[in-house]
């Protein structure tokens, strides 16, 4: 197991959102995913591989985003990867949008000297009452 799991996970999170949250860069976030095996579940919709994930990134009608992290929890996995769960708040940068809670979970796996995202599950933290 990778002893630097916590630093890797936290560094990844900050880097990932610095790309995703900027509208002009968002689609390049897809390049952090494993080319063929990566799975993204975005609000219940499933996407596999960089191509499909990139299309989704382009299609999400979000402008630049503001984001705040409440917690970033990391765990090493047996194959040298890192499991990361983020809880935080986001806001689309337009005047009428409101601050909403979200949760996102990633599994990163090592490949040569770096990591790919293999799994990503995103949800807004909204409730039914």
């Amino acid at each position: 197991m990778n002893p630097n799991f916590d630093a890797i996970g936290k560094h990844f999170v900050h880097h990932y959102y610095s790309v995703f949250d900027e509208k002009s860069k968002r689609e390049t976030a897809a390049e952090m995913y494993h080319p063929t095996e990566a799975l993204l579940t975005f609000e219940g919709q499933q996407f596999q591989g960089v191509g499909a994930i990139k299309e989704k990134m382009k299609a999400i009608p979000l402008d630049n985003m503001a984001r705040q992290f409440t917690t970033i929890d990391c765990q090493p996995t047996v194959d040298g990867g890192v499991l990361v769960t983020v809880i935080g708040q986001l806001k689309n940068c337009s005047e009428n949008d409101k601050v909403m809670g979200f949760t996102q979970t990633f599994i990163l796996k090592p490949s040569n000297s770096s990591f790919f995202i293999h799994h990503d599950i995103f949800r807004l933290a909204l409730h039914d009452c």
Binding site: F42, E43, G44, Q45, I60, P61, L62, K91, N92, S94, N96, D97, K98, V99, M100, G101, R123, L124, L126, H127, D128, C129
Partner: protein
Amino acid sequence: MGEVSERVASPGAGGGNTSHADYDYLIKLLALGDSGVGKTSLLYQYTDNVFNGKFISTVGIDFREKRVVHKTPGVDGSGGRSHRVHLQLWDTAGQERFRSLTTAFFRDAMGFLLLFDLTNEDSFISTRDWLTQLQTHAYCENPDVVLCGNKTDLEDDRRVSEERAREMADKFGFPYFETSAATGQNVTRAVNCLLDLVMSRMEKCLDSTKLPGGANGSNHRLGKHHHHQNKTSSGGYGDAAGGDGCQC
């Protein structure tokens, strides 16, 4: 068609007076449509350009309120009854960007304003998807809907013809309005049209369980909806609702 006239809402409307509500009906309407079609602006325009929105973060919903007086025409077309209506207008506050509307958003809604942007073809095509969501989650399969093609002020950029939009509205049996949240064109007419539909359904609806919310509930704080209805054995949502107070 009924008539709607505005009534000066007392400050703090909706709060305070919980033991004896000063309105006859609480009507909840939802605005639906892609992000950027102008839902929030339209509701803002309708509620007299006053930012009185209240955001409930757990469900991600924004709502505005307005008091109106709704007149139901009498049988001979004149001298109908007036009802004091407390309108709640629900807005998605950005969660629609993620294509995830919680079922809480649809709960107890009595009518729907389905919006698209006349200058954005995709938003017109999306109205089909929104309609499917709406039919899945609404209190019945054929709820009252008014279709609005918004942004008539940007006529030069129009991508959806009035004819096409009317064709779709006719197909589903919805009234259609071309609106401008910027200039106010048809905004009040569209909302009032929806209110008319909802009110006339209420009048016709002898079995109050078919409509969520039903008649006046004096306790209407969000998240504390009373799901039992104000059933009157006589069948009408009579004047009694406001008169001697609802027992909800």
